[in-house]
Amino acid sequence: MREMPPDYAPVANEGYNAYLGSIYKKDAPVGTPTGHFLFDLKPHHLNGGGTAHGGLIMSLLDTSCGATVAQLVGASGSTVSFNCDFLDGVQVGARLEIAARVTQKTKTVAFVEGQLMKDGNVLATARGIWRIFPERASA
């Protein structure tokens, strides 16, 4: 297994995310509206056809988009709505990249877009709306 780059660290690495396997997030200061993530696909993430399960793909995009909201506002929010399109399948052994971007933020909600890629090819895209809790936010 390839090592993760030094400027990446596990994100939201408890409970469900820890159970799935770590998603690594690239360091970025609070207030940054974009996030970059890496994840290594293992056999227990697959469906019966031998490609990544749709539920796993949505889990990765949900966590990555949510972590990008948290990075922007300085506190975690919660997913209100999440939509995912599945463009292509991906097989075990792959290192997946996820790029997420907050496109709009108000006091109480954030709109986020995410792309899941392998070797630069987009495999899934997602858009979601997060609720922000202004009393928790630090930025």
């Binding site: 496109t103 709109f111 877009e113 858009r127």
Partner: protein, 148 residues
């Protein structure tokens, strides 16, 4: 809308430079718009002038108008990419910000993947430099060379 009314509406819309009227649209779109288009390289932009009749009771641009416009923006991008007749299977909409009458509303879309049977497309709609709406769509393709 009669031809005279359409011509007058096209004139009153005061499109920004580069936009030309879309005259070949279906009755629904001509009546709602009128719409304009321009190319930036290969990229097609479509636009319309937001009017009172496009608003809701809050005086802001109606969500239904935005979705109807967006559906056409997505469909045009799919056609330009695939040259296939296509119908919308789904469109998902995010209402990112408000727009008001008087503003020029314009949108463009990109096909993220086109297979034999379906195409995925993403679009965005702006009011000036403000992003007001995003949509993703899945279209079913009817390719002429496909059997069965």
């Amino acid at each position: 809308m009669s031809d005279d009314d359409l011509e007058s509406a096209l004139k009153n819309a005061r499109p920004p430079e580069g936009y030309k009227p879309s005259r070949q649209r279906g009755p629904f779109t001509s009546h709602n718009g009128p719409l304009f288009y321009k190319y930036e390289g290969d990229k097609l932009w479509q636009g319309f002038r937001a009017l009172e009749r496009h608003t809701n009771s809050h005086g802001i641009l109606h969500g239904g108008m935005l979705m109807a416009f967006a559906d056409g923006v997505l469909a045009s991008a799919v056609y330009l990419e695939t040259k296939a007749r296509a119908v919308t299977l789904r469109m998902n909409s995010d209402f990112v910000a408000m727009a008001r009458p008087g503003e020029w509303i314009e949108g463009t879309a990109e096909v993220t993947r086109a297979g034999r049977e379906v195409a995925f497309v993403e679009g965005r709609i702006m009011a000036g430099d403000r992003l007001i709406f995003t949509a993703t769509g899945v279209f079913k393709l009817f390719r002429r060379d496909k059997r069965g």
